[in-house]
Symmetry: C2
Subunit: 455 residues, 2 copies
């Protein structure tokens, strides 16, 4: 176990000391694999706006925002004060609250396809609830999902999330590859995998099991697939196919709701039957939600004679989350969405210039207020093009460590930025300069890697 | 839709008005089926200690405590102030925190079988993580669970949760009955159902599929099975069977951790391999956790060459939940556990006296700080004995409504009480008198029901 890091004076850092304690009581010392790094994770002491200070006193500019969940950055005063007001009145009851009704109203007013809402506690729960609701509505067992797409930790949703070239099989019919060891064969059999944005191949794959498919699930800008938006042609083809074949089209907008005022779905001519939500709608607190058509969501309705999908949750719709979430989303109004997207577009332009100045084979993909770096000269368009051999993963990690340790910049561990409204032109300039330095830092290794891949 | 309730003046109540708004944007008007009631749910305005005030101004004594999750009642000052202090420093980061390490340490120090911990966001996520970890560790697909036991909303965990006489089949081999419509056959096939506390029949059922079973999961005091503790003989037999057959014994202590200082598992001579936690360990905030043996939990370790069960979660181990949870559990020390259990035992004695005075065929089951009423003269011992025909369900609802509306008493919707440390002898006396009145209120209908059942 390599837990040694020493500061210039040779003393153990506070982070290292805590990690040693953590390893005694937490598996691998971390409760979330995303925060794991060698030699040890960083430990946050406090954060405000777009800056996080760790327990060793280092202050870093935050482009990760707790895995894209903090649209206004940290400790926004309006959210803090609304939560404190609610805290004194209690955090959860065996009753409903006005807070959940106000928040559901906001979401339904915001996105045309959201006719009814149900709150849960995480994006994972939202996707699981959406898949179970799809099965209950159609009476069918199977789901279809895109190769490489991340949809949380429900086992049906995580099939083929990290398929490798050795496992993935032909692009005409990608294999259902388990993520976790011991995944039941029944789960693999009930998940159909298709290549995102490939209309012809996807429809051919769906046609094969048409009568068995409860829903086709897509993330409209799937991060792990490459952070490339679904084309109108692709989304419309899925919509038409599901209409003709008695299936549902459902979206995972846990991450992508931020992309436009009405979510990434705003830009398509068709609407999904249901949408899973999470991340930014919690205002910094654990959250998930399912939103969609009244007729489909009725499977959850406790007033029905026969409830097709009985469902509850101890902390679901708790007034802390629904209050923080409502305030966060009120602040993320049309102007705020326009501003953050414009600033992100500016950042992308500046960084592309830095790529050109550094003269490195790096590309960018993204949408709205998020973008991802690829150590490839041409931006990838598919999961298989995005896929990183282990040498590339290692170099990404070197770049991230450089940014963390030398430039005091935090990013998502795929090398992606998720902006918050706390970020201004000043921070964009800092990021641009840091990336220029980072590109120069990895340039020798990157050129060697690119040569090897091309050989 | 029966949403009409009028106060004496004939005006619409605030609760009725909000529910009408809720129905426009939330499926069935509720985000959790547990808070649903006719003609409409109650809406909490504020709560403190063991009292909740609704938006119509009614103040009620709370024996439900958000479905058993608030061990100190509402808005405990120490929890509120610790949370406010953390709030100003942020609610979630793409980093670890000292708060999660301190809380994991507390849990491991408290329960001997807890060698390592991982936090998640709900009891549902905790059970799902535990089942997936069991599969990853053993490489086997199936789980075995008790008929009638509730383990959250992960579909594998909810099989046979509400089996009816028409569905449940022979007690020698209970059917795997789906809860949600559209449950895949593969899920049903991978869940083996046994009768809780019946050693002989359970072992015979397990033996049939021995090599396929990843884990045997039990709630040691399963609420829906009848809130009767697992016998030492039963738990030891499951332990021995799992040792001999390469399977894991895992506990769902989401509800029952409160029963003794070291959880319900404290009273057995054997320890489960893993335990799912939730409810009271969140201090009123969304929480779940998996705790167990180092060797088994290693499947989650990100430091391993091959991570058998890759797992993360955006809000898992957030410092609000881990701070609130740590403070709540520190306050729930050995003395507090002894006191709440002694007071609950006193309440049970007083209520048994009330049952005798009212001369009604009612019985009680329970453990530690929780008990449940049954409209049956002899306390049920099994799920099938506990099962309530619809006439009995209707009468339970009448009793609950009486308690809510006439006595201002809140209970869990199965007619169960989950004490908080905020409850004193004064509230126990109020409850006793309320129950005496309630028993008298339902007595004529209950006697008729009992006669019909005996005929």
């Amino acid at each position: 176990m390599d837990t040694q890091i020493t500061n210039p004076g040779g003393q153990k850092s506070a982070g290292e000391a805590i990690y040693q304690q953590a390893c005694e009581v937490i598996t691998g010392g971390v409760s979330r694999n995303t925060v794991f790094r060698r030699p040890h994770p960083f430990y946050a002491a406090s954060a405000s706006g777009c800056y996080v200070t760790d327990i060793d006193g280092f202050r870093r500019l935050d482009f990760a925002n707790n895995m894209a969940s903090l649209i206004h950055g940290h400790a926004h005063p309006a959210i803090v004060s609304a939560v404190i007001e609610q805290l004194h009145r209690g955090t959860a009851y065996t009753m409903a609250t006005e807070a959940e009704v106000a928040f559901a109203r906001l979401l339904c007013d915001r996105v045309p396809g959201f006719e009814k809402v149900r709150f849960v506690n995480s994006g994972t729960e939202a996707v699981m609830t959406m898949i179970k609701a799809s099965r209950a509505y159609t009476g069918r067992p199977k789901i279809a999902k895109a190769e490489g797409a991340y949809h949380g930790t429900y086992d049906f949703a995580e099939i083929s999330q990290t398929s490798t070239p050795e496992q993935w099989g032909t692009i005409h019919k990608p294999n259902s590859v388990p993520l976790a060891h011991g995944t039941p064969q029944g789960v693999l059999d009930d998940v159909i995998v298709f290549p995102f944005n490939d209309v012809e191949k996807t429809l051919a794959i769906l046609d094969e099991q048409a009568g068995q498919i409860a829903c086709v699930i897509i993330d409209p800008v799937p991060h792990r697939v490459g952070l490339v938006p679904g084309t109108s042609e692709f989304v419309e083809a899925l919509y038409d196919w599901t209409r003709k074949n008695g299936a549902l089209l459902v979206f995972d907008e846990v991450v992508t709701l931020r992309v436009h005022y009405g979510g990434a779905q705003e830009k398509y001519s068709v609407r999904p039957d249901m949408t899973a939500l999470g991340k930014i709608i919690g205002g910094g607190f654990p959250v998930g939600a399912l939103a969609g058509r009244t007729e489909v969501m009725r499977v959850l309705d406790p007033r029905e004679q026969k409830i097709l999908f009985p469902h509850s949750g101890t902390f679901s719709a708790n007034p802390i989350t629904t209050t923080a979430g409502r305030v966060a989303m009120e602040l993320f109004d049309k102007d705020a969405v326009d501003q953050i997207n414009a600033l992100t577009a500016k950042a992308i332009r500046q960084i592309i210039e830095a790529i050109s100045i550094a003269d490195v084979p790096v590309s960018l993909t993204g949408a709205g207020s998020m973008f991802r770096f690829h150590l490839k000269p041409i931006p990838p368009k598919t999961y298989r093009e995005t896929y990183q051999p282990k040498e590339e993963v290692a170099l990404i990690r070197e770049l991230l460590d450089y940014l963390y340790l030398k430039e005091n910049i935090m990013m998502i561990n795929t090398c992606a930025c998720m902006f918050s409204t706390a970020i201004t032109q000043k921070e964009v300039d800092i990021l641009t300069q840091a990336m220029l330095n980072g590109f120069r830092f990895i340039k020798p290794k990157l050129e060697k890697l690119t040569q090897e891949i091309n050989q």
